[in-house]
Symmetry: none
Subunit: 127 residues, 2 copies
DNA sequence: CTACGTGCAAAAAGTTTGCAATCGC
DNA sequence: GCGATTGCAAACTTTTTGCACGTAG
């Protein structure tokens, strides 16, 4: 049911070859070089489906519009670590575990997302 | 140079009496009960100035438009819970604690953000 | 062939701005 | 009274949607 189109291929290629998160507008411009007449709506539709498929993740920085970057390790529950120096995002394969009791009375926790911020190994070594 | 207007007072009161971050739209609706004819532009202008004054902080969740919550002297480290049914966001005053050991070798954790997702008390009661 | 995916344009949602009228100090 | 602040509407930006056509499987 999922088709391989020139548009989807170009969009994914652009995102995977960038080594930083891209905005929808940047993706349109870069992928538009390969597929003329590429529409912004197609970019959004593909970003949404690729995100749901777990191939992309949304990077949300305060005061900025969302950016997208590839997820290389998928399938299992994991979290993220963002380096405050190089902005890169790393996977964290550990998990604090049972968080259900953290919620207030009457609340039911179904899932959670955790992002750690700090300095990555590379940036620590550089200082 | 900074004036006290009914609008600014109402907006700040609404945000400070909510125990969860509010969206500009929610603020407009709540403060509009006290100040008829309150315009959304006024809400945005006040949110911007109050944030710059350091009285409010922006809460940014992935895929969501920004929400605002007060910064008070009593402000402390806390997290957020988003209801998957009504989309509202609540404060969670609990914290899993020491997460430093979750990071990979060589990484230094400075801070973390945790978002729980599930059903809030209201939506649980409704089902 | 048969839908899923696309392009275009319009619509919706979110935010900012111009301007005359209003109101705090 | 003076000038900061407001309300309204229009402008802008970002994202979504409707619909007819193109095209992958």
């Amino acid at each position: 049911m999922e088709r391989t189109t020139r548009q989807k291929t170009a969009i994914l290629t652009v995102i995977e070859s960038a080594r930083r998160p891209l905005s929808p507008q940047e993706i349109l411009e870069a992928a538009g070089l390969q597929v003329a007449q590429l529409g912004i709506a197609t970019v959004y539709r593909n970003l949404k489906s690729l995100t749901q498929e777990g191939r992309l993740q949304i990077v949300t920085l305060p005061g900025e519009s969302p950016r997208y970057e590839p997820i290389t390790v998928a399938s299992h529950h994991h979290h993220h670590f963002q380096c405050l120096h190089c902005q890169r995002v790393f996977d964290v394969h550990d998990c604090p575990g049972d968080l259900k009791k953290m919620a207030p009375q009457g609340f039911v926790v179904e899932r959670h997302e955790l992002t750690l911020y700090g300095a990555c190994a590379d940036c620590n070594a550089a200082t």
